[in-house]
């Protein structure tokens, strides 16, 4: 089944850039609520239900915590609710805190989605474009890490069963230092293997499996249009000293609708593809 993940990294990157940009900068509760539901519904599609449920609880706690602490640090705002040790606690600061908490939650959820969608191959694609050598080191590191973990496990087992009882921390340190030695010796073999296959010759190319198709272009264009429209309105909220809500004129409503669609693009895509898949299967 086709999924949102399968888009070209450029399309995906710009999508995440756009939604994160608006989520972080708009500081508009309505935008953030759209973002929250858009991101969490997509997150539910690509990860398992349990994880989403757990994370929702976490975000709610996070939002409350930030809401409660912001007035303690920030004493701006005109509407004073009460005093704590001569410090003004204001309604504006409280609301600001709630929006801030929501913003952090939305950003974190989008980042979680980003982490699930952007696997190493996509990160390498971006690095490889401008920093091919760094991209190679990145890929090598990802290859070495599981090797090191495996050899640590083996060495640690061997040490545990070597006949002498030692404290765990001492054994860990000993085993880790053996991992260091082994990995540095093996590095010499790796570099031989690289040289043997011509590493270091001039004009190295960078291979990636991605192809930018018309499909990718379409989605990129749609994202750009929705993003620009979302920014078109004058939707900024003011918190201090007074809470000022932007006017609900046509342009602003257009912005809200655009961002609503933008936030739900990945979720809708997953739903659409899922339905298409079921339909195709049913025809067989």
């Amino acid at each position: 089944m086709n999924t949102f993940k399968n888009f070209h990294p450029i399309t995906l990157f710009f999508y995440f850039l756009f939604v994160l940009f608006i989520s972080i900068f708009s500081f508009n509760p309505l935008f953030l609520i759209f973002g929250f539901f858009g991101s969490i519904s997509f997150y539910a599609c690509i990860s398992d239900f349990k994880a989403v449920f757990k994370s929702i609880i976490f975000y709610i706690i996070l939002i409350f915590a930030v809401t409660a602490t912001n007035p303690i640090f920030s004493h701006n705002g005109a509407t004073v609710l009460f005093f704590i040790n001569d410090n003004r606690i204001t309604l504006e600061a409280l609301i600001y805190g709630a929006v801030l908490g929501l913003m952090i939650a939305v950003a974190v959820i989008w980042f979680r989605c980003f982490n699930l969608v952007f696997d190493s191959e996509k990160i390498l694609y971006f690095l490889g474009k401008s920093f091919p050598r760094l991209a190679l080191v990145f890929s090598m590191t990802l290859n070495f890490v599981p090797n090191l973990l495996r050899s640590f496990k083996n060495i640690n087992t061997a040490q545990r069963l070597s006949g002498k009882k030692t404290s765990r921390i001492k054994r860990y340190l000993n085993s880790f230092s053996a991992v260091i030695t082994q990995s540095m010796e093996n590095a010499m073999i790796t570099s031989d293997s690289m040289k043997a296959r011509g590493y270091g010759l001039k004009k190295r190319t960078f291979y990636s499996r991605f192809k930018f198709t018309f499909y990718d272009l379409t989605y990129l264009a749609v994202s750009i249009i929705l993003f620009s429209l979302s920014l078109a309105g004058n939707t900024s909220f003011e918190f201090y000293p007074y809470f000022v809500i932007p006017k609900a004129d046509t342009l602003n409503i257009l912005s809200y609708i655009s961002f609503l669609i933008l936030s739900f693009v990945p979720f809708l895509f997953e739903v659409k593809e899922g339905a298409k898949w079921k339909f195709l299967i049913s025809k067989i």
Partner: protein
């Protein structure tokens, strides 16, 4: 050559430009974002150097190995909270292989370990913090290798520095601006952890692993003539 100069100029212009643009455009929530962008752009000259410089194949592999060691260390010592060898290995990378190598080990360690533990807006900040710790270690490599006291002091310093830099990040991210009160709050609440774990674990790891790496590198030099 002209191309490199251009690249550097762009970097040098990019950083102030980001700050100005940030302040003008998003007056309110500027600091957090500016800091991310600045931290990110600050890494670019090092990456560009790495692309251009003549690095031997062995050095490139060793860079990947050092990075992998620090990331694997984060996994291996996971049962012991806060007891992580990442900073220590970055310092070691800087002191034995030079400041550029140290910076790259630090920056890459952040990217790669966040690849396992989750990327976030903090990634560039972490890249820069660890990178700069490795960079400074490379500058003062001689005293670090020769004098144990300097090593201990730098271990403590880098633990505190890392913790402070990340506190700056926490403050800006959760407040939007650099709120001094919150910053102090963050420092004070993190103080026991900073002292007890970052500093002490750094010193322990450095005292154990720095001489070890010294010996290993000598050994490799003998055996493989790097």
């Amino acid at each position: 050559m002209a191309k490199t100069v251009l690249k550097y100029v762009i970097t040098i212009i990019l950083i102030p430009a980001t700050i100005i643009l940030g302040v003008v455009l998003f007056s309110d929530r500027s600091y957090a974002v500016i800091s991310i962008a600045v931290a990110f752009f600050a890494c670019i000259p090092f990456f560009l150097c790495f692309e251009r410089n003549k690095y031997s194949t062995r050095r490139i592999v060793l860079l990947a190995v050092m990075t992998a060691l620090s990331v694997a260390g984060r996994f291996i010592f996971a049962p012991l909270p806060f007891f992580k060898p990442v900073t220590a290995i970055v310092v070691i990378a800087g002191m034995y292989f030079g400041s550029e190598f140290g910076f790259l080990t630090g920056a890459l360690s952040a990217v790669v370990s966040n690849f396992y533990f989750g990327q976030g807006p903090w990634t560039p900040f972490q890249m820069f913090s660890w990178g700069i710790i490795g960079f400074v270690a490379g500058i003062i490599s001689n005293p670090l290798i020769k004098n144990k006291l300097v090593l201990i002091l730098y271990g403590a310093f880098s633990g505190i520095a890392y913790s402070l830099l990340m506190d700056v990040w926490t403050t800006m991210w959760s407040d939007g601006t650099f709120n001094l009160v919150r910053f102090y709050g963050a420092i004070i609440s993190a103080l026991p952890i900073t002292l007890e774990y970052y500093v002490i674990s750094n010193i322990i790891f450095l005292l154990i692993f720095a001489p070890l790496f010294g010996k290993k590198i000598e050994r490799l030099k003998l055996k493989y003539e790097i």
